[in-house]
Symmetry: C2
Subunit: 117 residues, 2 copies
DNA sequence: CTGAATCCCATAGGATACTG
DNA sequence: CAGTATCCTATGGGATTCAG
């Protein structure tokens, strides 16, 4: 399985020099990224759909997040030549391989202990 | 299970407003963090041991990483009143609960496709 | 040995406004 | 609708030096 890209983003490159877990974090770390993947595991989404489901993300940030995920081979972006424009985001095989991980991270974060008042 | 702390770091607080996976990333995201946890899952480490095993981390950064993990209830720091000083880092129950996740993220990062030359 | 102090820079990510 | 463009700030993280 390949990413479909020839050049890796520099954070991912640097992570590879250190440890496999760092590679995972270089690809998946950062705000909104795993939430977006979580929704895309559910089904294909349009840009506006993702924005609404994420709640408070700005279009600029969401664009960057999706572009990174695309560059890292997680997401595929499909543009339809229509008016008004329609762009759909879905997961690659590599993206779908995150199913288990996302499930566990979601469960772990959900069980994360809230401090007592 | 509680963190032992009363106040959460602000990134974690903000993540809680969004999604459980964001909580996980707020706690585990960032350079060196998961690598440190990975080694601590193996056994207790002294500061210098961790530094050497991580390879190129600076003491300043490693200190911040460990302090964050401590504040988030993942790591416990034990200071021995000796000369020269000895400080040992180990995992809390919450930290050990990351065993599976770290294993999976390590495997996923290891299998992450390198681009063809 | 285990940091703290200081300095520095790049990046992440929000706010706001605009466009094909 | 799906972004760009511009501006801004906070913070993450490295380099280097110093200290108990």
């Amino acid at each position: 399985m390949t990413t479909g890209t020839e050049t890796l983003r520099s954070p991912v490159q640097r992570a590879m020099e250190v440890c496999p877990v760092e590679v995972s974090m270089a690809v998946l770390g950062g705000a909104w990224k795993l939430s977006a993947v979580k929704y895309l595991l559910e089904r294909t989404h349009r840009f506006g759909e993702l924005q609404r489901r994420l709640g408070t993300v700005t279009p600029r940030t969401l664009t960057r997040v999706l572009r990174d995920l695309e560059a890292d081979g997680i997401v595929v972006r499909t543009v339809y030549a229509e008016v008004p424009p329609r762009v759909e985001y879905s997961l690659t095989d590599l993206g779908r391989s995150l199913d288990q991980v996302v499930g566990w991270l979601n469960a772990w974060g959900d069980a994360y202990p809230r401090p007592v008042d």
